[in-house]
């Protein structure tokens, strides 16, 4: 455990004209920590995720990131090229729709290998071996390595997207509804896989989800958002078992019991 946060976010806001995307969001994220951001559609959680991953620039506020060399860098003062490099090497982004995060017309192996080549690996045999290894870690049979993700099921595509993101050994992964749109049985398998990978690799992650069960299973800490603002935050089990804010109580009481 380190004493310095990996990511430090202060008073982050994003406005679309006069409309609030997210407002005044402040938090720290430490290495190995998984933070869930929950809230209903339109609560600003995806806007926040896009600002944090610098896919979108905020209207105001700061975010600093501790680079591998231990130096803190202000994310929104980096050059576009530096941010792209960070995104390719030290970060991952798992989209809700795998088609947004994969290249659908190249093979599964190439999808994984491409990220390795982006960080400078040029040895074909080694790239392929690493790709095979990662496909097996996300439970894709190695005889599918030359198939295109177009031929994969939704759950397999999502697992492939995860392998593509984790192959470079990132320290921070952003996930936008990683289990959205999947059947529950496929969801359970994916969650279990994610949980194992996050623990084994000591990843820090920010997971946006509207599913409180997903948040409970994956995260240690949670932020609840409504109308662009954080209405409650804390330990995940504390927020879910003893919700304090009116909106969190509504969310928790709306879970269907099976």
């Amino acid at each position: 455990m380190t004493d310095e946060p990996l990511l430090r976010v202060s008073a982050l806001s994003k406005f679309y004209g006069s409309r609030v995307g997210c407002e005044n969001v402040t938090f720290d994220l430490w290495p190995g920590e998984v933070l869930a951001v929950v809230g209903e559609s339109g609560s600003g959680k995806t806007t926040l995720l896009n600002c944090l991953s610098t896919r979108l620039l905020p209207s105001s506020g700061t975010a600093s990131y501790r680079m591998r060399d231990g130096q803190r860098r202000e994310l929104y003062r980096m050059s576009e090229a530096e941010r792209r490099f960070l995104m390719r090497t030290d970060w991952g982004f798992v989209h809700q729709n795998p088609a947004d995060g994969l290249r659908m017309t190249v093979s599964a192996g190439a999808n994984v290998g491409e990220r390795l080549m982006a960080v400078g690996d040029r040895h074909y045999g080694r790239i392929r071996a690493t790709a095979v290894d990662w496909l097996s870690r996300v439970e894709i049979d190695d005889d599918r390595i030359d198939d295109e993700p177009r031929a994969f099921s939704g759950g397999m595509r999502q697992r492939l997207q995860i392998a593509r993101n984790l192959v470079t050994g990132p320290r921070l992964v952003f996930m936008d509804e990683p289990t959205g749109g999947l059947d529950v049985s496929v969801q359970a398998r994916l969650l279990d896989l994610l949980r194992g990978l996050v623990t084994d690799l000591g990843l820090a992650a920010i997971v946006v989800t509207h599913d409180l069960a997903v948040a409970r299973l994956l995260s240690q800490r949670m932020m609840v958002m409504k109308d662009g603002r954080v209405v409650e935050s804390g330990l995940t089990d504390r927020v879910l078992d003893d919700p304090r804010a009116p909106y969190t109580q509504l969310l928790v009481s709306s879970i269907l019991q099976v």
């Binding site: 455990m1 430490w30 359970a188 398998r189 949980r195 504390r238 078992d241 003893d242 304090r244 804010a245």
Partner: protein, 235 residues
């Protein structure tokens, strides 16, 4: 003698915003301490707030007022006002908790569920599994179940997995929320043995036991929770 846990003037109420903001007082003025090597038991009828107190001590419920002072990492911290990150560290190293129900994770075997807290504390996986096997055997869980995820186990089997998971570590403070509720007599005796071993090892234990035999066998003293009733006028 060392006192790893001191609770002073803790109060808790629930505000139900969906019920027009009605406030349900639970407890107030909760004050006690637990010494190393003793097992104290929270006593009182259902609804007196025993479980709520235990959950506050684990950081699972928020605390409205008061302090929960815990010896942690060579210093003292106030759990009632600690950051989530500190609470997580306290759970990993200082306070263990055996709940009534096991929250299972799909596809993880009973053996790994039990071994996990040790792995989190940095033990290597095989050593942790060896210790998990020994505990599950002691608790008479059939060996053929060890490799299976506990989701489909019976209540008593799940509870034994839960107990093994709670007792496997060497946390200096251990909270027990009715660990024997769905166990038969033979396994209740095993739990009593496990608690005695913890006491000998200098662990501070605080538990809720509705089973009077078990309670009489393990309790060094009973803390009467009705004294902390939030409706009561302060003496």
């Amino acid at each position: 003698m060392a006192t790893p846990l001191v609770v002073s003037d803790v109060a808790k109420s629930f505000t139900m915003h969906l019920r027009d903001g009605v406030t349900l007082p639970v407890v107030k003025g909760v004050s006690f301490s637990i010494r190393a090597g003793e097992c104290a038991v929270l006593g009182g009828p259902s609804g007196a707030g025993k479980s709520s107190i235990l959950k506050m001590l684990y950081g699972n419920y928020a605390v409205d007022e008061g302090q929960i002072i815990v010896q942690h990492g060579g210093g003292l911290i106030d759990l009632a006002s600690a950051s989530p990150r500190t609470v997580l560290s306290v759970r990993r190293h200082t306070i263990g908790y055996v709940s009534q129900f096991l929250r299972t994770v799909p596809r993880v075997s009973a053996l790994d569920v039990v071994a996990e807290p040790l792995v989190e504390r940095g033990e290597d996986r095989e050593t942790a599994r060896a210790k998990a096997r020994a505990l599950l055997a002691q608790l008479n869980l059939p060996e053929k179940l060890w490799a299976l995820p506990p989701a489909t186990f019976s209540g008593g089997e799940q509870q034994r997995v839960n107990i093994a998971r709670g007792f496997i570590t060497e946390h200096p403070i251990l909270l027990l929320d009715e660990p024997t509720a769905s166990l038969d007599a033979r396994n209740r005796d095993v739990v009593v043995e496990l608690i005695d071993a913890k006491k000998t090892a200098g662990v501070a234990l605080l538990g809720i036991f509705h089973d009077l035999d078990v309670r009489d066998a393990v309790a060094d003293r009973v803390i009467d929770v009705t004294a902390f009733a939030a409706g009561k006028i302060a003496a």
